[in-house]
Amino acid sequence: MNMAERDQLLADFMAGALSEDRQHVLLEELQADADFADRVAELLRIHRLLGLELAGASAEQFAAEVVHMIRPKADASEFARKVVARIRSRPANRRRRWRPMREGAGLSGASIGLAFAATAAAVLLIALVYPRTAPPRASSPPTPAAEVARVDAIEGDVELSRSDPEAGGLARPGDAILSGDRIRTALSRAKLVFGSGTEVLVNRGTSFSIDHSDGAGFIDMEAGEVFVAMGDEDRGFVVRTRHGRTVDMGTRFDVASDSQLTTVIVTEGRVISSTDRGSAEVDAGQEVALMSVSAPPGKVKEANDLERRLAWTKAFDPKTPQVVAKVPKVVPPEPVAPPKQTVEEPPPVAALPVEPPAPVPAPAKPATPPARPQLPEVVGFSLIDPRSRDPIPKGIKIPDRATINSFRLPDRTIIIAANTAPRHVAHVKFVLDNGKYTMVEEFFPYTLGGDTVHKGGGYNTLALKSGWHTLTATPFVKSGDGFLPGKALTIRFRVVAGR
């Protein structure tokens, strides 16, 4: 085998694209030539070190995680002697230490013993702390055994559901929240107060269930945003989303989650946000992004523009807990000046020749989603004149369910651009027709099919068949060594070609 063939074999092997037959060929080559085997082993070493260097957790992140796993052991060994003194001597925001949850950690005999000791300690802690907790309001009716919180204030219609269907319905101020209840806001907001004094503000478009079975507050959030302000005597409060979990360590923090990302912002004290692949300590004034339970948390960074991002929490002024705030007006994206192109406005749904997808009842998405100015968003799509060489091309907005008649367009060519806010992002990913076509566009303007406008060139043509299409564009922003997705936008549109 000559050098070039060996190189191709190695290139494919490292890419994981070697067929079984060629694996045997490579094995024979390695067995026959020790120098070649050493050369490949060195390449494998470089390959693995590259993974560690470029995608591994930072030294600080790694060390912090190890220490968090150790701390409970140290605490448990001294617990019986020190627990009371520690609780009383430390400031409230330094009272708790929580071990991040990690799957796959085996249980040794020692750890089982520690777990037993910790359980016993927890029982003692509950006995010490819980009786001192006060109900949220002096005027509240007696608290049932399973009641964990009360609805303190609402804005709009907030759904409260529980296993007993007769007990569910629209929440009202003063309603008891039981362990296992589900809260859902669509265009509404709510403020809940837990027995320990912890306040949870619930933003629009939020859905979660509440658990209090282990003595600590636990919110299992499907989507939306909550702001948690811990009571002085409360213990670790957990907010879990599809991307990871966040454990309070005596603090005030915000958790916002959608299908792609969970963002945790801390305004006071400290939380630990963790996934199966690591954890991050987030201090006051910082934020972290969780992208997946199977990926390490993003880098902890300074949280910017907090006043604006958390402005929604001011809807519930503690001095006027019954306040019903005005819903701020949705500010539409800046309209793009229409060029002389032809786009038919979307006909009424009933008049469409193709049945649109059935409307989804009770949308969980808020009219004004949680503000995340640090993450980009796709605010709309535009049709671009394919003859334009304008570096900032003007376009005509494509509404959802629009019909585009390519026959009436210049060059009979459909060029679709995603409009992002801010205008320039790291890249935009397009997914057409549920993945039949995907592409990533790195340069503005971000067009489906790509372009060389940034270099003074033109637009690439992507042939779109007649009929209905679904297009999703997701903007990404550079974050440390990787990219964070912003808010994606999906539209359906119909292509026709005729006079």
Partner: protein, 194 residues
């Protein structure tokens, strides 16, 4: 384990401070030695996450046995010994279930890597690699970042760069070779061999 009853402020030996219950001192030890242990394990395990999990286990074991550490000996060698023991056990369990053509290739290569241990310090190699990455041109750096930092699948890299699969895999292969030669040169220079 010693009771963390009192931390002597005058003690500068981090091991003594850990034995006295100073967890922050142990964090310092982890920070100082993590690169060596993680690189050592990352080179010898196929899954980066698995390697980091095992590296954590190394430090947890070290913490639980810190009182048995002979302070007259280098801490790094002790940690490396723990890592090697845990790695051996880990591989023994894994090899019992791993089979297949690609596995045979990997087993052979990993045995070669294990043989390199005497000659190559993985932390030094990692340090050299950092320097070598800085020498890549912008295009190469972007390709390496897509493959390793962003862990973008090759098919998507091809779509993004507009290049064929074989061209991308060969470019990455050439880059790894370039980096290997660079690392080798830096290590040789550091040891005064050049």
């Amino acid at each position: 384990m010693h009771a963390p009853a009192h931390v002597d402020e005058e003690t500068t030996d981090p091991v003594a401070r850990v034995i006295d219950g100073d967890i922050d001192a142990f964090e310092g030890i982890v920070l100082e030695h993590q690169s060596s242990i993680r690189a050592h394990l990352a080179v010898r395990l196929r899954d980066r996450h698995e390697a980091d999990d095992l590296a954590q286990e190394v430090f947890l074991t070290a913490y639980s046995r810190i009182s048995t550490f002979d302070r007259g000996r280098p801490l790094r060698a002790w940690l490396r010994g723990i890592a090697d023991n845990l790695l051996r056990n880990h591989l023994r369990k894994k090899r019992a279930i791993a089979k297949g053509g690609a596995d045979d290739v990997m087993v052979l290569l990993e045995s070669r890597l294990a043989g390199m241990r005497e000659n190559a310090d993985d932390e030094e190699a990692l340090e050299a690699l950092r320097g070598c990455l800085g020498l890549l041109d912008e295009r190469a750096r972007r390709l390496v970042a897509m493959r390793y930092a962003d862990e973008i699948p090759l098919a998507k890299i091809c779509a993004r760069t507009g290049r064929r699969h074989s061209a991308v895999t060969m470019s990455l292969h050439r880059l790894r070779e370039k980096l290997r030669d660079c690392v080798r040169g830096k290590l040789a220079f550091a040891r005064g061999a050049m």
